[in-house]
Assembly symmetry: C2
Homo-oligomer: 411 residues x 2
């Protein structure tokens, strides 16, 4: 048999499973990441469920692992592309306070909980767990606001802005945490250095994004080889990730910076039609990002939940994750704001939390218990948000009317 | 450093190099495969040119190797998608004779040449060399006919039909040759079995293509998860390649069969717009196929040409390749046919020849000398065809007029 055959079959199974997961999620009005994670958990535990040995292949094949890692980079690049700095600036004060509080509060709550539940784990493991609690993913939140026609309300603007601050803060923190874990030292000097590197790196990307996108777009438009623009988008993502890695930052920081740059680049095809870079990175996104979600889901060890401590940990950090962001909502500045709504909207960890967990996994500081608990926390926070958020936006009476309407029109 | 970093850089360099190669080829009005092969040869010989060790990384990294192999499958799938059986049937008799003669004649000419130049090589190596001489790639030929507005002339129809027969014959022969090499036996029984398997496999694909594409298209259109159609196209290709491999055929036979099936499948998006599968496999084609060409080019050892025997072999098999297809042209049936034009149009080996050479490489029967000579033959036959073909289509007087016109309008 051709050595490539098992990999081919693995890719086919993962891709089809991912789309089944995505389709299921869509049916239940949930984000694709949830369905894909669930299918990934199933595939990663086929031995547990059916005795079929696919799990091991899925967890250990280096090719599939690399495809998943590429997915993480392309995911962060897309997050960068979707980072609308101008819109954020409108509500920057509130957004900044909410973001900072949303980073600090879950850590402050999560730290004693992990200390109580897992007194003996390595400090690095604890560090990565509480770092993952900081993340925010407002994809599902945005969709709820959008579905209800409430994307323009002040609370929604604050949440979207806070999510962007949160992405940047999260990347800074992750860079520092990564450096602490790999060098093994908590030296303030080097932590400061890394934070400055990451900030400078992202700032350069922001400046390029503001000043040079037009020139770059014009230049790229001059080439007509098929697929040139797609290759440009993917290459920019990988190249900046490589550079970030080279100067000691996490590769995803580079991918995010690439997204910031690509955001405003518009290219023309030879017929003069304009295209955005989001469109160019889309095919890679549709294939590699589901592979990331599936391989991440596959690393969850269901056996771990036979142990009470995993269940307790999952519950404990989920509580810290939810309460922490609710507290953050209180820090919004302004009159007559629905602060509960802001807090709830910040709850989902989604794919951003997953990126943090995957970093912990590749740094080797998470074991089956802690990783599995983190993924459950990520899924839980993402799952509960849509219905909670709708409840905060209506009085109980209005909510019942809304539910009846929604059932009638199948919203 | 992250273990994925060197791979990321490798992917970026290959992708950018491929597009530079494609752009150069376009400038000189040549098919992209030529430019990409040339750039691949350069990258694969950076030690030779510059002392830079990128070559070894490019040749030995398993991830890049797999990406190239995926490219070969997607390439064959696209060849299947472009196989217009209906158009071929119009000129089937001539096309069949030309195709069969085009397979036999280069072998008959090539066999004594390799016997004279390389008397001591293993019979399997000789087998793969003369098999690669059978291939036909009419991509560049089609473009020349198209540019000159002569795609409807009988000669063009015959050539396009013969190329399709040639693809099928080539895959049958390759399946048999692969089985002979891997089992080490020339047993007629098993050769016959393999040929029958391959024929049955392709026939089933053809029947599915004729009868069930509508049903499949309807079914796939019902799913709305993003990227579902793209995943369906790529998965069909990989899955049939996997099955082909499982029943003892070359994976590319399965990929070609997948292309035959995908050809007529039309899917609707949720807005009701119709899409063809060619469009769905296109992003994968634009990324992975150049990776195949680059990695194939990179396997060429320029040092091999310091040895006279490599140069002689390249010249010898190029002569056999050209003369063999010219002879094939004589077998066209019909009155007043320009048989020289048909023969010339069949000369290019292009990407199909490269697939054959890559099979030889992965079977381990080609060494630096023979592989490098094959690639040169493939490039040479592809390079000389456009200008030769134009000359056969005009009298010398007409040709001079055409050249003047072409220079004026930059055709």
């Amino acid at each position: 048999m051709d050595p490539i055959s098992p990999v081919m079959l693995g890719v086919v199974i993962i891709l089809i499973a991912a789309k089944i997961g995505g389709e299921l999620a869509r049916k239940f009005n949930q984000p694709a990441v949830l369905g894909e994670l669930m299918v990934g958990i199933f595939l990663g535990n086929t031995v547990f469920f059916t005795g079929w040995g696919f799990s091991e292949f899925l967890q250990e094949n280096p090719f599939l692992d690399y495809m998943g890692r590429f997915g993480a980079l392309i995911l962060l690049c897309r997050v960068g592309i979707e980072t609308d700095v101008a819109a954020m600036m409108e509500s920057r004060v509130s957004a900044f306070f909410v973001a900072v509080a949303g980073v600090i509060a879950p850590c402050v709550l999560g730290y004693p909980i992990t200390l109580y539940l897992l007194p003996d784990i390595h400090p690095h493991t604890r560090l990565i767990i509480i770092t993952a609690l900081c993340a925010t993913s407002v994809g599902i939140t945005t969709r709820v606001f959008e579905d209800l026609g409430k994307l323009q309300m002040p609370e929604a603007r604050i949440v979207l802005g806070a999510a962007i601050f949160d992405d940047v803060l999260g990347l800074l923190i992750l860079s520092v945490v990564t450096s602490v874990i790999t060098t093994g030292s908590f030296a303030l000097g080097s932590m400061f250095n890394i934070a400055v590197y990451a900030a400078v790196f992202l700032s350069i990307a922001a400046v390029v994004s503001l000043k040079f996108t037009h020139v770059i777009g014009e230049y790229i438009s001059r080439f007509h080889a098929e697929g040139m623009k797609m290759v440009f988008a993917v290459s920019t993502c990988f190249l900046l990730a490589y550079i970030a890695d080279g100067i000691g930052l996490a590769p995803i920081v580079g991918a995010f910076a690439a997204g910031l740059i690509l955001r405003d680049i518009k290219v023309k095809d030879f017929q003069g039609h304009e295209h955005e870079m989001d469109e160019m990175i889309r095919p890679a996104y549709l294939v590699f990002v589901p592979m990331f979600f599936i391989t991440m889901g596959a690393q969850v060890r269901l056996e771990a939940f036979l142990d009470k401590s995993t269940v307790l940990l999952a519950v404990g950090i989920s509580v810290a994750a939810v309460l922490g962001k609710l507290v953050a909502g209180l820090f919004a500045r302004g009159k007559n704001l629905n602060r509960l709504c802001i807090g709830v909207a910040m709850i989902p960890r989604g794919e951003v939390g997953l990126i943090f967990a995957s970093m912990g996994l590749s740094l080797g500081v998470l074991d089956d218990t802690t990783y599995s608990a983190l993924v459950i926390m990520i899924m839980f926070t993402t799952l509960i948000t849509p219905s909670l958020l709708k409840r905060t936006l209506y009085t109980p009476e209005e909510f019942r009317t809304y539910e009846r309407e929604a059932a009638r029109y199948e919203i």
